[in-house]
Amino acid sequence: MARLTLSFITLLALTLSTTPVAAQSFLNGDWVGTFHEDQPERGPGPELGDYLGIPVNAAGRQYADSWDASRLTLPEHQCRAHVSPYIYRGPIRVRITEEIDPGTQTVVAIKHFLSTYAQERTIWLDGRPHPPEEAPHTWMGFSTGEWQGRVLKVHTTHIKQGWHRRNGIPMSAKATMTEYFIRHDNVLTQVSITEDPVFLEEPLVKTTNLLLDAATTPNQYQAWLFCQADDEVPGRDPAYVPHHLPGKNPFLTEFAALHGLPVPPTRGGAETMYPQYMDKVKTMPIPAPPARR
């Protein structure tokens, strides 16, 4: 009985004592995206005019409606990276490592090296404050984290303007993100909650799963992004910015027509995220499919 008691107390104490230490290291490793969620959007890319499930507000919708994919041909846009609230849904590998304080051997920061655009992200765990508002913004932003049991909670600010979906739905530089990194065996789930007071009606919540990949080789990472922009349209006025004037974008109903969907849900908005919206959709007229050529 005494031996059993000792074993129990020891086990309990060891569990308590090792939780933070284990939590500090158990995310380390090479992780690879699984793509079982939203594959058409994440691989080939979203279709023009598909705002389904994004809580985009009127401002974000107008921005997306006037967005022209040719914007990406401008030299200043060709080499842009994805922002941190979007990049984990890309064709991604993530190598998670730690920065250790050599004096105390505690973890100062968790590092993510993301294969997409070779982005490096630092999640500070040392209690440092976020920079002042006027500090530069970056693709990955400035992140601080804390352990909540075995879940890593991360808060990110100072992110550059990017997109919530890469068909023109914008993410503003005022957006902030809260994430939870949760590991179950060989699956790492990232829950991201992006708040964007400029372009979203409600927070955008996403989950993304990654699998531990023990057989990763270095060449599976894009070791360096060396992008040199070129004039893709020779002779074009360098001051030209492609966009659609309000009401002139011919592609906005193409998605609905091709997939036999009513138009309103394709326009997005917070309402379109919730299951009860389906009842409303069932009452909506479906536009005629495009004529066969």
């Binding site: 060891l14 006037s66 105390t104 209690g127 002042p132 006027e134 550059k160 004037l245």
Partner: protein, 330 residues
């Protein structure tokens, strides 16, 4: 035996609690907060260049063994705090002030900050009506001096002692100072008709004045010679000068007249926004719409959450300035 158990258990539990405390503390040197002085604060930007935030406009400070250069001086009421902020960066006297344009939030501290300094020549600076005095040189485009001064017998908008003491009338002025080339480039008829940007070439930092801001639509001071086309030309010229760093961020850094430190990716969003709204208003003007109709169409709508809340320069004012600038004069 029970005693042994309790001793072992107690030791393990104490160890456990200690580990928890360490785990929460996550020790490591915290980042120093920005240095604050009288409500202002300074941040390093890159190389020799720092920025003073909160003085009414952003102030770039290039430091070095020869003494600092300031790009703009903020508002008059913040001048003492600006000097205190500069002293946190260097104990050398201010040698040169470069004014990006004539507005009071950028030149208001000229008098006090200038008086605290001394020119590098040691000969003093010629000031109208005051002979040669020991103070910092104030450099600006000639149109900026014209806007700050007035013909003899008229009331000048700014005191003589705050006027630029060294002007240039061409496209640019350049000199080598504190180990790097300093290039002042004039953008004609942009925010005003006297705009200059200041490029610290080794530091790879550009102080843009009010041609670029992260917190407002482009302010077009038509009464002082500003124009939408001049702003767009200026923004595109800036894009030609900046080179983004590795992974398309950093590289040439920009200190806007107001707002956050930026790089090319931020600047291009601002250029795109300005171009798109210009194109929309131009289209509406071409279709014969009245100003009221253009305002009702809200051509800035999706950008208002980013740029529409600037004190003294609303989206409505911006659209009106565009409309009046783009509508053909009969």
């Amino acid at each position: 035996m029970l005693k042994q158990i309790l001793v072992v258990a107690a030791a393990v539990i104490i160890g456990a609690l200690s580990a928890h405390v360490d785990g929460r503390a996550q020790s490591g040197a915290p980042v120093s907060p920005p240095r604050r002085e009288g409500g202002l604060y300074t941040m390093p930007v890159q190389g020799n260049v720092h920025v003073i935030i909160g003085a009414g406009s952003n102030i770039a400070v290039q430091v070095g063994s020869l003494g600092p250069i300031l790009v703009d001086t903020g508002t008059e009421q913040n001048a003492d705090a600006v000097l205190a902020a500069v002293r946190q960066l260097t104990n050398r006297p201010v040698r040169n002030i470069i004014n990006t344009h004539s507005h009071a939030d950028h030149v208001g501290g000229n008098e006090k900050v200038g008086a605290s300094g001394a020119p590098i020549s040691g000969r003093g600076v010629a000031v109208v009506g005051a002979g040669t005095v020991a103070r910092a040189e104030i450099i600006a485009h000639e149109e900026t001096l014209n806007r700050m001064s007035a013909p003899a017998g008229s009331q000048a908008p700014t005191p003589v002692i705050a006027w630029p003491t060294s002007t240039f009338s061409g496209k640019h002025k350049e000199f080598y100072y504190n180990g790097e080339g300093v290039q002042i480039v004039h953008f004609p008829s942009a925010h005003t008709d006297g705009d200059s940007i200041v490029f610290f070439r080794r530091s790879d930092v550009i102080a843009t004045g009010d041609v670029y801001s992260t917190v407002s639509y482009p302010i077009i001071d038509a009464q002082r010679g500003g124009s939408i086309q001049g702003v767009l030309d200026g923004l595109n010229q800036l894009l030609d000068l900046v080179i983004s760093g590795e992974k398309t961020e950093g590289g040439t850094m920009l200190i806007p007249g107001h707002g956050r430190i930026s790089d090319e990716a931020d600047l291009v969003e601002y250029r795109d926004m300005t171009t798109i709204i210009r194109d929309r208003v131009q289209d509406m003007v071409n279709r014969g719409m009245t100003l009221a109709q253009v305002q009702a169409a809200r051509p800035t709508m999706e950008y208002d959450g980013l740029y529409g809340a600037a004190p003294g320069w609303s989206a409505t004012q911006f659209v009106e300035a565009l409309y009046r600038g783009l509508k053909p004069v009969k």
